[in-house]
């Protein structure tokens, strides 16, 4: 199946062709795939080399000059390594940009910890004004990239090699109710939808599908919770466990509630292997999810 990263390259090339505001900023990662786009748009496909501070600094400068830059590399090198550039060269300058990462929490299991960034969303969540998108399918990634390209704010688009079985008819900014039940609400983020639906088969639970995780769709969560017999909420996030617990607590401030945050564990595994093995190690495979969700709901 086509990956989100492949769809990103194709879509970005189309955006370069159709919108003179668009620029692509790279730090060697995916540069080979962008070579045809660079040949057609040498001034708007910029590869700075293996220089991630410059990647983000140039991105801020391009916006200051009036363009709509899309910067891309692995999440460790896009959000974590140049975090102060993200904070100052974009946020403090009060400019927008689209940051597109590919690699997620453990796409690159055989590469080890240096190429894994389960903390990227939590880290970015310390900053104001970011829209954070976690698509679960290449079709959703394309929709979100086109949406982000047409806007002016700061958008983080987190692509992954992990994907759901099928795209959802999601709308940017909104959680999508996928199924309804009476015993609680599960919020499945991005590529976690397929394992979550497998995990809750036969259980009387509501499932919300979340792609835009910041801002958090408080209204959709409250509607699901008030339609349920309990205010029990389970978050299943494909990045650091608990990243959105605070959002649920704030959304349900006036309701006695319980929240279980599932996601990638904080402890370093120090294992290689496959993404499926890492999902299981973090308790994010369908069997583990079913056991943990059922146990929490009693």
């Amino acid at each position: 199946m086509e990956t989100m990263r492949e769809r990103f390259v194709v879509t970005a090339h189309e955006l370069l062709d159709s919108d003179p505001r668009i620029a692509i900023v790279l730090a060697d990662i995916t540069a080979a795939q962008f070579a045809p786009a660079a040949a057609g748009h040498p001034d708007r496909v910029i590869n700075v080399g293996i220089r991630e501070q410059l990647l983000v600094g140039v991105t801020g400068g391009l916006t200051l000059a009036g363009l709509r830059p899309i910067a891309h590399t692995f999440p460790s090198f896009l959000v974590e390594r140049p975090f102060e550039q993200v904070k100052l060269d974009l946020g403090h300058q009060d400019v927008g940009a689209v940051l597109v990462s590919s690699g997620a929490s453990y796409d690159m299991t055989s590469e080890g910890r240096t190429h894994q960034a389960p903390g990227d969303v939590a880290l970015l969540d310390t900053l104001d004004g970011w829209t954070i998108e976690v698509p679960g399918h290449p079709d959703e990634a394309e929709l979100l990239l086109r949406d982000a390209a047409a806007r002016d704010d700061r958008v983080y688009l987190r692509l992954s090699g992990e994907a759901n079985n099928a795209p959802q008819l999601m709308v940017p900014g909104q959680f999508l109710p996928v199924r309804t039940g009476r015993r609680g609400t599960v919020v499945a983020v991005g590529p976690m939808l397929t394992p979550v639906l497998d995990a809750v088969a036969g259980l009387d639970l509501s499932v919300l599908y979340a792609v835009t995780v910041r801002p958090f769709d408080i209204g959709a969560l409250r509607r699901a919770v008030t339609a349920s017999d309990t205010a029990d909420v389970v978050l299943v996030e494909p990045y650091l466990a608990g990243t959105s617990n605070r959002e649920v607590d704030e959304a349900l401030l006036d309701l006695p509630h319980r929240v279980l945050g599932l996601g990638v564990g904080r402890a370093e595994l120090r294992r290689y292997g496959t993404p499926a093995e890492h999902a299981a190690a973090h308790g994010l495979d369908p069997a583990s999810l079913r056991e943990r969700i059922a146990s929490f709901l009693g």
């Binding site: 801020g60 400068g61 000059a65 009036g66 300058q93």
Partner: protein
């Protein structure tokens, strides 16, 4: 709100800067750095930059980025003298209601292109601005970014210096105020860091207005330009540059 009326433009000359600086107080920590930048700033705003306080966001304007956000008193004084800031607001410097802090904020001051303070951010932003102007087929605007010799300690600068040199980004001008404040110095001089990456580089007396102007307006050679403006060492009372310049 802050910009002056047209009739006020041109009221101030270089001799008035000291008085404007005197309106600001409480920046003792950044004192020596504040004046190291003064002459280069004055020459840029008085003789070189195509900027207009009546239209500080004009697309075709030259850009000036104070990367070295420390010691902005001279910067604010020059902006006031040139009509970007009402001199009256200098008195509230760094107070809660003031737009003028120890480090400038682009969202608060007309004509200030970037917020700075954390060292090593301006050159990367300047590279992006220059590339963005080029991508929009605007060859005229020049992008000047002012750094300090100690600021070059930050590795981010060297990412930008190597890249800009490699691609021949000739609308980019680095102005390095060298007051010998880098803790470990720069063997061979600051200019060598730019020169070896393909920049057109010149080192001048940072107090000599004519020499500064000549360095800033020298013809473009298809390469980025670095002007190293040498001033008194930060920790010396000497009024003459300690380094011989060519």
């Amino acid at each position: 709100m802050m910009a002056m009326t047209t009739s006020q433009l041109g009221r101030y000359g270089y001799a008035d800067i000291e008085g404007l600086m005197g309106l600001m107080t409480g920046d003792e920590k950044h004192g020596p750095a504040a004046t190291s930048t003064l002459d280069a700033l004055w020459v840029l705003y008085d003789r070189v930059l195509n900027v207009d306080p009546r239209d500080p966001g004009a697309p075709a304007r030259d850009r000036f980025l104070l990367s070295k956000g420390h010691g902005p008193v001279a910067y604010y004084a020059v902006l006031a003298a040139k009509g970007f800031i009402d001199p009256g607001v200098l008195r509230g410097f760094a107070s809660f209601d003031s737009a003028l802090g120890y480090h400038p904020d682009r969202t608060l001051i007309p004509g200030v292109e970037i917020g700075s303070g954390s060292l090593g951010h301006g050159l990367g932003l300047a590279v992006g601005i220059a590339l963005g102007l080029r991508a929009q087929a605007r060859p005229e605007p020049q992008v000047f970014v002012m750094l300090g010799d100690a600021e070059l300690d930050e590795g981010s600068n060297h990412e930008a210096i190597a890249f800009a040199g490699a691609i021949g980004l000739d609308s980019l001008h680095a102005v390095v105020i060298d007051n010998s404040s880098a803790t470990h110095g720069w063997s061979g001089g600051v200019g060598t860091r730019f020169e070896r990456e393909g920049w057109s580089t010149v080192t001048v007396n940072g107090r000599d207005h004519d020499a500064l102007e000549a360095a800033f307006v020298a013809p473009r050679e298809g390469r980025p330009r670095a002007v190293v403006a040498v001033v008194e060492p930060k920790n010396s009372a000497a009024r003459r540059p300690a380094i011989n310049v060519r």
